[in-house]
Structure formats: C-alpha cells, structure tokens
C-alpha cells in the first residue's frame, strides 16, 4: 500500500515536472493577460496618463457606441460570408488534389503557397490587383480601351467582397490540407464496396465522403469562425477600414481605440466582450457539431 502510494506520488511529481514549463508559460502568457485585461477594462484614462477605477462605465459606454455595434455587425457579416465559402472552396480544392491526376503535386503546392505568405504581402498583392485606376485589373482593362466600372474598395458590399477574395486566396490552402488529411483517412474498401453496389460518383460523395469528413468539417468551421473574428490585417492593409467605417471589423476598431484614441480601458473592455463572444460561439459550435457524430 505504502509502496503504491509513494509510486503514485512519484508519478505526479514527474508529470508535474513535465507540465511545469508549459504551465508556467500558459499561466503567464495566457491566463494572466486575460485577468489583467479584465482589470484594465474597469479603468479609465489615457494611455500614458493617470488611470482611475471606473467600474463598468466602459461597458455601458460600449452599449451606446454606434461604432462598436457597426464593427460587431461587420465582423459577424464577414463570418457569415467567409465560413461557408472557405469550407466549400477548401473541400473542392482537396477533392481536386485527391483525384490523383497528373500534376497533383504542382496543384497542391500552388493551392497551399499563398498560406505561407504574411498578411502584409497578401495586402499589397490585392491592393495592387484591385485598386481603382492604377490597379492591375483597371490598367489591363484600360489598355484594351475598357473602363473598369466597378470600384472594389468603394462601398460596403464591394469592400467586403474584396476582403473575402483576398482571405479565401490566402487561407483556402490551409483548409484544403485539413480536408485532404480527412479524405485520405477514408478507407478505400468503403468506395470499393460502393462500386460493387453500383453507386455513382455523386452517391459515393454523398454517402461516404461527406459523413466521413464530419469531424474535419467541424474543425474547419470552428477554426475559420475564430480566425474570422480576429480579422484585422486584411482590412487594415487593403481597405483601411473604409470608406468611412464600412469595412472596420471589431479587432480593427479595438486597435484604433487603444493606439489612436489611447483609451486602453475601453479597448480592454471591447476585447473582453469579443473574448466572451468567441468563447461562447466556439462552445456552442463544438457542442452542436460534435453531438451529431
């Protein structure tokens, strides 16, 4: 008995020793900032100046702040348009690559390549392509004597479409890899059995591929939703949040509050609300998507 207990104790000790480096970093860089952020959100005062305790004032100000609501709506809108399109596109690319055609290696590399670029490069590329009058498309059309009638950054709808195109081009490759891993885990005998039963390609996709990819799809949806919530680089670099506030999502606004308005307390409050929203949505999604499988 005693022997057993001391063994268990030793085990815990060893486990703790292995966990310690991670735990220290986890607590320090993850849990502590969340707590600290919440405390900051209860304060008032300019960055660089005196800070005073303000209770929930920042939170009540948020309720009456139009720009908070418009950025939240912009963020949600982006999630609504980006999540389905990235799932469909990622899956489509994965299916193409999985068909074992000639040149698959090239295609796979080509699809994945943009993901390795940093957001600043992505931003420059798409500004270069899309911007009105001196952009690549505008100049090409212009040299053929056609004036580009649409303005890619000039309105709410087009602005978001441009951000969506840039984001898809950038991240679809990563989701393709996830789907591809899922596709390659489906045992071949399922398809063989379906062949014997005389199932067509569509039926195989509908009754074998899709159900088998449920787990991966759940993962992609959750990852994509969270990363869409964190949208910042693309709007900052491509549309600068404009025209006006048309393409300003929440994280973009948080940056402006903190580093343009120097209102750290309010920025922390908005960040904390964003954190709660993301946590809640991830939880719901996880429960919903996982309970089915």
């Amino acid at each position: 008995m005693k022997q057993h207990r001391s063994h268990a104790y030793k085990n815990y000790l060893a486990a703790l020793a292995f966990l310690a480096p991670f735990m220290v970093i986890y607590l320090w860089f993850w849990i502590y900032p969340i707590i600290k952020g919440f405390i900051t959100s209860l304060s008032k005062g300019n960055m660089g100046g005196e800070k005073t305790f303000a209770g929930l004032e920042n939170y009540s100000y948020m309720m009456s702040d139009d720009k908070f609501w418009s950025s939240l709506w912009n963020t949600l809108y982006f999630i609504l348009i980006s999540t389905p399109s990235i799932v469909v596109l990622g899956l489509a690319l994965a299916l193409i690559v999985n068909m074992k055609l000639k040149g698959t290696t090239f295609l796979r590399t080509a699809f994945f390549m943009p993901y390795m670029l940093s957001v600043s490069v992505i931003g420059s590329i798409w500004v270069f392509i899309l911007q009105s009058r001196t952009g690549f498309i505008a100049e090409t059309l212009g040299s053929m004597g056609i004036t580009m009638g649409i303005s890619f950054f000039g309105s709410w709808g087009m602005g978001w479409l441009s951000i969506l195109i840039a984001t898809l081009w950038w991240t679809a490759g990563f989701n393709m890899i996830l789907f591809l891993a899922g596709l390659q885990e489906i045992p071949d005998d399922l398809y063989e059995a379906a062949d014997i039963d005389g199932a067509g390609a569509l039926a195989k996709f509908r009754f074998i591929t899709m159900p088998s990819l449920k787990g991966v799809t759940a993962l992609v949806v959750i990852l994509q939703t969270i990363s869409s919530f964190k949208l910042f680089g693309q709007t900052w670099l491509i549309t600068k949040g404009g025209p006006g506030t048309s393409t300003t999502p929440l994280v973009h606004y948080i940056y402006q509050i903190a580093f343009k308005q120097w209102d750290t307390g309010y920025a922390a409050a908005v960040s904390f609300v964003l954190f709660l929203i993301i946590a809640l949505i991830s939880l719901i999604q996880y429960k919903l998507l996982m309970s089915k499988s």
Partner: protein, 433 residues
C-alpha cells in the same frame, strides 16, 4: 538506479528548455538598445552615445540616415545611433517606451502628437538644456517655435514644417493656356477663379486626365477640409471643444463635393493620388510636401509646387512639424548632447529639405544651399501660414472620427449635413471620455 538516472536526465532537459527560454528573452530585451540602460561613456569625457528613433519608414528615412552619418563624421564628441521605425506603430511604441522608462535619448515626434506624449511626464522641458547646448530659440520660425511651447516652456526642437501644398503639371496647364510666362498659374483669385481654372482644364485636356486629384479614402480629405475651414476663419476646436458642424465646415465640404459632382475631381481613388499625378493622369493635386522627392524621380513629369492656394478670406494651410523630443533621464550630459544634435539637424535643414520638408529656421530657408534645391523654395512660404492643429491628447481620435464622416460624404453614403452632424457627435463623445 537506472530509473533515477532517467528522471535526472528528464529534469535536466526540462530545465535546459526553461533556461534557453530565459536567455533568449534576455537577449531581446528592448532596454539594451535604449537609453536608460546603455552605458554611455559621457562621464569619462569621451564619446557620448545617443539612441535616436525616427518614424521615417517612407523615402524620408534615407535622407535622415545620411544626416546622422554626416553628423557623426563631423565631430567626435557625440555618436548617434539611428533607428528607423515603421510609421504605423511608431507612437504606440514611443509612448510605451516612455512609460516603461526605456525610451531613446532623442526621438522625432510630430507637434500634433506632443499632447499624447507629455502626460507621461517623461518629456524634458528644454529651456535650461538649450542654454547649455547653445541653442537659440529666436533662430526658429515664429510659427514653428510657438507650436512647441506648453505652459511657457519649450518641449521640443522644431525640425521642419510639412504641409499640404499644391502641385501642378506644367505641361497640362500650358496646353490649356493657363500658365503665365513665369510658370505660375493664370487664374482669378478665390473659389470661383480656382473652380473656373479646373473647368478649363476639364474642357481642354484629354478625357483620361483628371483636372484635380486628392486622396479620397485617406487623411488628405480631412487635411484639405481643415485648411479650407481655417481659410474662412473657422475653428476646429474652440475653448478645448471640437467645432466640426459649423457653417465654415459645411461650406468647405460643399466645395469639395461640388468638384466631385462636376467631374473636376476623381472620386474613389483610395490611396493612390501620388501615382495618378506622377503618371500624368491628373493636372493638379493637393498633397504633402514629402511628395516632392517622389515626383522629381519621374523624368516624364514636368511639375511645379506652390503653397496651398487661398480660396477664401485668408491664407491658411494644414501642416504639422517634425520636432525632436528629449526623454527624461538622469544623465544630463546626454540630454545636452541630444539638444546639440537636434539643433545641428535644424541648422542643416537644407539636407533634410531634400525629403521635401520646409526647414524650421528662416536662415536656412534664405540660404543659397536651400534655394538651389529645385521646387522646394516655391512653397517655403507655407511655413508662415500653416495652422497647427489644436493641442489635445484626443486629437488623433477626433481627426479619425471626422475623417470617417467626411469620406462617407465624399462616397455619397451621407449628406453633408448628416455627415458633419455625425462627426460633431462622435467628436463630442470622444472628448467626454
């Protein structure tokens, strides 16, 4: 025994990981590059090392680096270490460094940002230091000197004035018969004269050349609106409160909008007004003086630059100044060296003027070296008519809020009345925070 060995090895490995982590963070400690911790040799009477931060990620950076190198070669007492920073996050970085007491020995700051930096209590007032460093405030332009005085004390050394001025394509204006023999624009004074000049351009120039161009989704819209308000004697802030929704503000916006509506100015050009003017697709542009260095690289472009035109009752232009601030530190010798360096930069403003900016010392503006530079002297007078923005730590916040609404007006998302009212509300709200 073997098991203990195993455990020992694993613990050692974990420890080494932790230690590796520590050493890395130690290496990248920002304080290593900074004033507070760096060991100056000032006390031993040899070279004083100064860390110097600037936000010139654009083309100005090269000119400043040249100046620093020239300064370092010109004497052996002070050695300046130049560090260029990305413009976008320069102020967050500078402000945090001031708060963390890890600031550089000397740094560039815009006049419009002083109000954000001074509440840290880390910006040294320079009056005593200036005496020891041999800096004479009367050698600076009056407008420029007044802009850096807070509560009767000098808080920075003005380096330059940069303003929005007018550039025009001499070939296009010549073709349209709008140039005088001396190369100046032939037009009647005031709004009517200017608008008529644009209309003539529209009538006489090829269809793909826009008479005028200004950035439509960037800060230029705000800067030009601001200048037009100031020209009418209007205010932006009055008694510390924003005055956006005013008759002057409305009139200024109506003018800009009418140019757009009449097709005298291109809508929706985003950020690329420079490129459009540079490639001879526009005849006139209002843009910052820093564009001079950019435009003169284009051989096919025959242009001239003049001060922002007077369209209303009085001359005025939007402008700002780069200044040098000295963060507080215990080593007074370093602070004096920093002021000496700042004064040297201002005195050698003709070198800095290559980047397009107007020097802060009238003696430099009068110098042969400055006058020999092409284009620059055409708009040097703008330093006298620049109306600096109000001194409040909320300035950037209010400017951004106003800009958003003005852009929405330009893009037709809001009427002028709605836009200005909204801007006023937002500004009031920001000030109440």
């Amino acid at each position: 025994m073997k098991k203990t060995m195993h455990q020992l090895v694993s613990v050692l490995m974990i420890l080494s990981l932790v230690l590796a982590g520590c050493s890395k963070s130690g290496d990248s400690k920002p304080s290593n590059e900074n004033a507070s911790n760096s060991e100056g040799k000032s006390s031993s009477g040899k070279t004083i090392e100064l860390n110097y931060w600037v936000p010139f990620s654009g083309s100005d950076g090269e000119f400043m680096e040249d100046m620093v190198n020239t300064f370092n070669k010109s004497q052996s007492e002070i050695n300046v270490k130049f560090m260029n920073n990305n413009w976008d996050n320069y102020y967050p970085k500078l402000l945090s460094s001031l708060q963390a007491k890890a600031a550089p020995d000397v740094a560039v700051a815009h006049v419009s940002h002083l109000a954000e930096l001074t509440p840290t209590g880390m910006i040294e007032p320079l009056d005593d230091l200036a005496k020891d460093a041999g800096l004479d405030w009367s050698t600076f332009g009056k407008n420029q000197e007044e802009a850096i005085i807070r509560d009767g004390k000098h808080y920075a050394v003005p380096l330059d004035t940069h303003a929005v001025v007018m550039y025009y394509n001499k070939k296009f204006l010549g073709d349209a018969g709008l140039l005088n023999a001396d190369g100046t624009i032939k037009m009647d004074p005031g709004v009517e004269g200017f608008t008529k000049m644009l209309e003539t351009l529209k009538a006489k120039l090829p269809g793909d050349v826009s008479p005028m161009i200004i950035g439509s989704n960037n800060v230029f819209t705000y800067w030009i609106w601001y200048a037009l308000v100031q020209q009418q004697g209007g205010t932006y802030f009055k008694d510390g409160q924003p005055t956006i929704d005013t008759p002057e503000g409305k009139k200024a916006m109506e003018l800009l909008k009418s140019w757009l509506d009449k097709g005298l100015m291109l809508p929706d050009i985003g950020d690329n007004s420079y490129d459009i003017f540079k490639t001879s697709k526009a005849a006139v542009t209002f843009t910052g003086v820093w564009a001079t260095g950019n435009f003169e690289k284009e051989k096919s472009l025959d242009f001239a630059a003049v001060a922002f035109p007077q369209l209303f009752d009085q001359p005025a232009a939007w402008g700002d100044s780069h200044t040098l601030i000295v963060p507080k530190q215990s080593d007074r010798d370093k602070e004096i060296a920093a002021v000496k360096f700042a004064n040297w930069l201002a005195e050698h403003g003709a070198m800095w003027a290559k980047a397009g900016h107007v020097p802060s010392k009238p003696s430099v503006v009068e110098s042969e070296e400055y006058k020999a530079l092409p284009y620059r002297s055409g708009y040097a007078d703008v330093m006298k008519i620049v109306k600096y923005m109000p001194d409040t730590p909320k300035l950037s916040a209010v400017n951004d809020a106003v800009l958003e609404s003005l852009v929405q007006i330009n893009y037709g998302q809001k009427t002028i009345d709605e836009g200005l009212k909204e801007a006023q509300d937002k500004a009031d709200k920001l000030m109440s925070r």
